[in-house]
Subunit: 124 residues, 2 copies
DNA sequence: AGCTTATCTGAATATATGTTCATATATTCA
DNA sequence: TGAATATATGAACATATATTCAGATAAGCT
């Protein structure tokens, strides 16, 4: 309803088509910063892989070491280690050394929430 | 504590190292099916891209058409259309035709929840 | 019917990503 | 100290993916 005709947007060459300028401007006003957007998407992304999802799902209940996870997933210990590093880089998983063994566990309440909602989605 | 020594797991050649057999078996008992795991990870994955995340964030508030979103994101309308199809394939976004214009909006309560938790994470 | 607008589709491409292999580091035990 | 165990790291490769371009549909307007 806002604008019946196609309009232009403030741009370099003004070649962008817009139908609802008000909605675009509202979206621009209400959007989070580019930085937050990238961070947030990287959190979803790290959960968006079957292997990694299986890892955090397991860590939801017990802390586990690399070779346990490797046995559980049926993957190389190296592969697990690589993936665990991605989680640690995002501060979603923490580690605890006990002799030669390093135990991994969840380090973020939000992640657990995200997983719970996902599970609710899957199990209807 | 469960087992001090490295053990083998029931496998083809029994070459898998395991430290905590009980934890691995528990994880196997409590894991969701491979099918559900793939589906769930594909939902996280589709949110795990800055452009797509920006799209659904915008759709959280208003329904928008392709060219609005293209103007908002600064991307080609084709690119937006491609991404919207991914959302539709997962039934996370629905569309409504009104003449030539097709309006897109969220079609899944769980996704909105996932986004809210993500935002809570970002905004502390 | 033609013309314009809005969206979709498929091919192409450059880039990102998951896993493996070989090797390095760190800790324990003899 | 040296051997064995647990994990980490870097290179390499095969696959996946996001975007663009060119062309195809589909609806409204004259």
């Amino acid at each position: 309803m806002s604008s019946a005709k196609t309009k232009c947007l403030d741009g370099d060459a003004c070649q962008v088509r817009v139908i609802h300028l008000d909605r675009v401007e509202r979206a621009r006003r209400e959007t989070v910063s580019e930085k937050e957007l990238n961070w947030l998407s990287s959190i979803y992304k790290v959960l968006g892989d079957p292997s990694r999802l299986k890892i955090v799902m397991a860590l939801r209940n017990v802390e586990m070491c690399v070779c346990d996870l490797a046995a559980f997933l049926g993957l190389t210990e190296s592969a697990i280690s690589h993936q665990l590093r991605r989680f640690k880089d995002l501060a979603l998983v923490k580690s605890r050394r006990e002799g030669q063994v390093i135990y991994y566990s969840l380090d973020d309440e939000h992640v657990a929430e995200l997983l719970n909602i996902g599970l609710a989605h899957v199990t209807e």
